[in-house]
Amino acid sequence: MNTGRRGFLGRGLAAGGAAALVAQHPKIAAASGGLDGKPLEVPDWTKMLGPGVTAAPYGSPSEFEKNVVRRNVPWLTVSEQASINFTPLHELDGIITPSGLCFERHHGGVPEIEPDLHRLVIHGMVRQPLVFTMSDLVRFPSVSRIHFLECPANGGMEWKGAQMAGVQFSHGMVHCCEWTGVRLSTLLDEAGVAQGAKWLLAEGADAAAMTRSIPLDKALDDVVVAYSQNGERIRPEQGYPLRLIVPGWEGNVQVKWLRRIKLGERPWQHREETSKYTDLMPDGKARQFTFVQEANSVITAPCPEKPLKVKGSHEIRGIAWSGRGKISRVDVSLDGGANWQSAELQTPVLDKCLTRFRLPWRWQGEPVFLQSRAIDETGYVQPTIEQLRRVRGVNSVYHKNSIHTWRVNKDGSVDNVQIL
């Protein structure tokens, strides 16, 4: 029996359709690809048909990209339901995070919500309490906004020192997506805000019934009740079918699986804004309602996961972001902060959005201390870890946005270090 490609092709056509051909895509043996002086080979995938348009109704990344996944740190939390995983920043380009790679932070696992049964209630200090279905909400005028979303614990494992050997774990509690939905101010106007209302409580429909108090000023300013992420309905782990987007503020206030908004005069002082998500200072007092994610940046190439394999031309790449507005400048240092040069910013630079920076670099095998420093449009300059520690000590857990240092060694490997 002829099992060669030619014979297979003949049988396939005889069977009456090209669809029969595509199941087997043989792996070719490692080819030199023209690097050994011999002529280039024509690979198998050029000499046979590939799958057709019905093979993948919802597409997936190439099977060769299996390593591009979210990862968790098993020792960090005691359960997988009240836990976090990390965006693989070292594998990403540009500013948009693919939906399936956005870090996840849940307090009671991911609920499986039937959208037809989901409701959003707005009540409390309003003229008329209202309930909305999903089909109600999509009828309102919609907005789309591209914003970063960061857990305030991003980097929080390194207040006392460098311990994560990878950018995925040192900085991966951040993502950036296009969110579409209705402005919260539109919904509040529909219910009518009563005089004296100053705060709202947002509540999720998950097993943690997650709650956070949010000042009404912010709610009326730029908060979006979102139902879509990167063009499609929000992923379950990101809040399907409905979540808050609170631009520039810490991730936990951007309540997922949003089911209820209640207006009141004062914050509710719930667990997630007293016992958690507060910043303990050296004097034993804790800062509360520290919502804004201050300017931050990190170099994603090179990094521990992406060492330099050859000397010569490279591009230093990274991301910067600020919860106070646009990034106005990112500086890069090769000598641990003694001298700096400004990187090119990918345009358009958007408000409260990841901003990609790039700097060409010729590496000759010398040891380097690589750093990036973000400056936002308010003039705020990303601080050093020492500057932060002097004010906040090492036990505040949240909001560590210090300049990060990668040590590039002579062999091109990259280490996470802290320096003076």
Binding site: V73, Q163, R266, R271, A286, E294, P304, W340, D415, I419
Partner: protein, 214 residues
């Protein structure tokens, strides 16, 4: 030319229409809902004054029994925390130490918040399965474990709201940031060789591998 009476009628019609529009406001999307309808979801309690605490009561003794059945597997028999599950008692006086212990007794500023949190999220694998009396009882036991309620104590809405937590004044509301201000120096910003202060990331071995999950 219109007659006077018809002008009145037209004006009155416009007035009625504008009142209807004002009442409808906005886009007229959404459905009215009553407080009674919202009640099953309306479970939030204001930490500061206990507003929203339901009727009912529970004792420390009842709470201890329930706690052993429902809570102790994770939080330990006496709230000490089983393994790495959260500890719920002790830690008072540690907030300025090298390893602060943030428990209900040492850190939580408002007692009604405990009721709110336990009722909405606990037990971890069966949230919102406790009734109000059971929740009061468990909260009573948790307060007892932290020396904030005597062994014969009973808790209801009024007595829970009246409890003053030890760390009530331990929070600073209002964000003082930016709390570090610095100028972006560009040239010769540091002198001397780089001093590495922390270089254990690779050798600690606490970073997960880069291999995909099988």
């Amino acid at each position: 030319m219109f007659r006077f009476s018809s002008f009145i009628l037209v004006a009155a019609g416009l007035l009625t229409a504008s009142i209807a529009a004002a009442q409808q406001r906005g886009y007229g999307i959404g459905h009215k809902i009553t407080d009674a309808q919202i009640a099953p979801w309306n479970i939030d309690i204001s930490g500061e004054d206990g507003k929203g605490l339901p009727p009912g009561k529970g004792s420390v003794a009842q709470g201890e029994k329930l706690y052993v059945q429902q809570c102790a597997a994770c939080h330990g028999e006496f709230g000490e925390g089983n393994g790495r599950w959260p500890e719920l008692m002790g830690g008072q006086g540690t907030l300025r130490e090298e390893d602060p212990r943030k428990t209900i007794g040492s850190f939580w500023p408002w007692a009604p918040t405990i009721f709110d949190y336990v009722r909405r999220t606990m037990p971890f694998t069966a949230p919102q399965s406790l009734d109000n009396n059971e929740t009061y009882a468990i909260v009573a036991y948790l307060l007892h474990l932290n020396d904030l309620l005597p062994a014969d104590g009973v808790l209801d809405a009024k007595s829970l709201a009246a409890i003053k937590m030890p760390n009530r004044d331990g929070f600073i509301a209002g964000d003082p940031r930016p709390d570090v201000r610095t100028e972006p120096c560009m040239k010769d910003c540091k002198r001397g060789p780089v001093k590495v202060t922390s270089d254990l990331a690779k050798s600690l071995g606490v970073t997960p591998t880069q291999k995909p999950k099988d």
